[in-house]
């Protein structure tokens, strides 16, 4: 399988990465090289094979359903590029 230029733009948008028209042909070439590389997998018979979900068999640990941390709003916000009154600031989302 290979991707065309409009698909490159679509997946860039899915990944929320801005791409310019100038760089899409180059990206297309690189992505298609990788897709060509993974085509080898089509040769494998995977009928009846379960997809891997956990690489090491392990029981998921459980704990009491209680609050174990919190009350650290200033630490949570400490690295934010823009804050106001204890909140993250983003451009207007809802009109």
């Amino acid at each position: 399988m290979s991707v065309d230029l409009s698909t490159v733009r679509r997946i860039a948008h899915l990944a929320r990465i801005e791409v310019t028209d100038a760089e899409t042909p180059h990206l297309q070439g690189e992505i298609n090289a990788i897709l060509k590389f993974v085509e080898a997998l089509d040769a494998v018979d995977v009928d009846g094979v379960e997809p891997m979900t956990s690489v090491i068999p392990m029981r998921l640990p459980m704990r009491e359903d209680v609050v174990t941390d919190g009350g650290i709003a200033t630490l949570v916000l400490a690295n934010a590029p823009m804050t106001e009154d204890g909140f993250f600031v983003v451009p207007k989302v809802i009109e």
Partner: protein
């Protein structure tokens, strides 16, 4: 006077315990060596004040006859471990200025045991790379000189973009270069597809990727969560064993971290390998394989046989599919993990009129070309209509890869011996500029292990005809790192000491 930076971790530990030297002395010696080696670009941030403070505290404990297993020993930390209040960016521009409010479990374990932090080490951006060239902070020069290069030529290249000098491998390139150049006694590293083992092979040192779940991933900047695992780089097998014992252990903050207690790995170093059964997988014998690598592999098997192990052929038929499957699974997980870099909560932010533009501009500016490419591949293979054809299929193939190993181990094989890399170290700027797959092929021998969650150790096994280090890989059963340390030391002893390069960069 012996150069304190040339001591092994174990030797330094014993000298500190006997008070033959102080932590302050050996810490200062390392800080000075790092200053003189700035041009190698191994460290992206130094924590000299913190190091001196920690060393003094260690000396006080040692004076009272106290202290942990790593008391007073200066080490380096890969930039993807969260270190409280200290530069932590996984060498990405998008984490610009990030200072975590918390400590990773692995580094917390090291400080608990008395280790001293020298600084943060260079790496490929978000650990995506095999040469340290994708780092926002630029490439790292290997302390190993290219074949037939003299000191003057290398020093000139060092101050002119490093072209032609060798890469230390990646993604843990800064860690490997720092250990090989004696800029720390040992370092933390991490391995998603070979990022501990390939740099170890390229720089003539020891690296181990333990079993998935042996070390906590809490506080490690995530790349591909089902593959990522912490591990050490060190100059000897014993040193790697000492480091791993401190790094590993149960952690309630990581639900995939094993609750099993950590054995004394150092006790396994020097243990006899007599009677062990070593598998040699025929599928690793690639067409057009470098004859030096093939000869090295055969020699490794002979060493283990001479030490009393038996060597048998094994088959791991799905080996050729591991690398292509990896380049679906890893980007898919990365595209999910790296969705958190949004310009809102931490790091870089680009001005924008609306929220989608904020994301798109920030991520375009903050991620380097390799990361952008992988995130796009990840988004594609997870997108509607392609999820089953790519992602689910790759996870099924992963089950088959793991089954291959399980069958070999069920047949009584104790460990599997393979080459570590398809070649010795290559030059900066030499690979992957035309086709990214060229770079990916570096991980052909290492990536299967991550896909199956197994432990694997790389030990130096000699030099190429060009005088560059080559490594051998030992793959073990889940949670049987001890066998790897015993076998690794046999390889290390049989190969003889790898003499690390003189500091031409000073």
């Amino acid at each position: 006077m012996t150069d304190l930076t040339s001591l092994t971790l174990a030797e330094a530990r014993d000298r500190l315990k006997s008070r033959a030297m102080s932590s302050l002395e050996i810490t200062k010696a390392h800080l000075e060596a790092i200053e003189r080696a700035k041009a190698l670009n191994a460290y992206v941030a130094m924590t000299a004040d913190k190091a001196l403070e920690m060393a003094q505290a260690s000396d006080a404990r040692l004076a009272k006859g106290e202290g942990g297993p790593l008391e007073g020993l200066p080490i380096g930390v890969k930039d993807l471990y969260a270190t409280r209040g200290v530069h932590t960016q996984a060498c990405s521009h998008i984490l610009d200025g990030f200072r975590p409010a918390y400590e990773s479990t692995v580094t917390a374990n090291l400080w608990r045991d008395g280790a001293v932090m020298l600084g943060k080490l260079n790496m490929d951006e978000f650990a995506m790379g095999s040469s340290n060239e994708t780092s926002y902070y630029g490439p790292v020069a290997s302390p190993w000189l290219p074949p037939n290069w003299g000191r003057d030529r290398a020093r000139a290249a060092l101050s002119a973009g490093k072209r032609g000098l060798l890469t230390p491998g990646g993604s843990s390139g800064g860690s490997a270069a720092a250990v090989a150049a004696r800029l720390c006694l040992a370092a933390t590293a991490s391995d998603t597809g070979g990022s501990i083992r390939q740099p170890a092979a390229f720089t003539g040192i020891v690296g181990i990727k333990p079993t998935y779940g042996r070390c906590s991933r809490y506080g490690m900047v995530a790349f591909a969560s089902s593959l990522d695992q912490a591990g050490p780089l060190a100059r000897t097998v014993r040193d790697a064993a000492i480091m791993l014992r401190s790094m590993a252990g149960p952690d309630a903050k990581d639900s995939t971290c094993s609750p099993a207690s950590v054995p004394d790995y150092e006790a396994a170093v020097g243990r006899s390998v007599k009677g062990m059964k070593i598998g040699v997988p025929k599928e690793y014998r690639l067409e057009g394989m470098n004859s030096e690598i093939e000869a090295l592999w055969t020699r490794g098997a002979e060493w283990l046989r001479a030490a009393g192990a038996s060597v048998v052929d094994v088959s791991l038929p799905h080996t050729p599919y591991a690398l292509p499957a990896y380049y679906i699974v890893a980007p898919a997980e990365a595209s999910s993990n790296l969705a958190r870099y949004d310009g809102v909560r931490y790091g870089l932010r680009q001005p924008a009129a609306d929220i989608v533009e904020l994301y798109e501009k920030t991520r375009a500016k903050g991620f380097g070309a390799e990361v952008r490419r992988r995130l796009m591949i990840g988004a594609y293979v997870l997108s509607a209509g392609y999820y089953d054809a790519y992602y689910v299929r790759a996870q099924k193939i992963r089950s088959l890869i793991k089954r291959d190993f399980e069958r070999a181990f069920a047949d009584g094989v104790d460990a599997i011996l393979t080459p570590a890399t398809p070649s010795a170290a290559f030059g900066i700027g030499e690979k992957g500029s035309e086709n990214p797959v060229e770079m990916y092929l570096n991980d052909v021998f290492t990536v299967t292990v991550n896909m199956a969650g197994l432990p694997a150790l790389v030990a130096p096994a000699g030099l190429s005809s060009d005088g560059l280090p080559l490594g051998l890989q030992l793959i073990g059963r889940p949670f049987d790192e001890e066998t790897l340390f015993a076998l690794g030391e046999t390889i290390e002893q049989s190969a003889g000491q790898t003499v690390l390069p003189e500091p031409w960069w000073e």
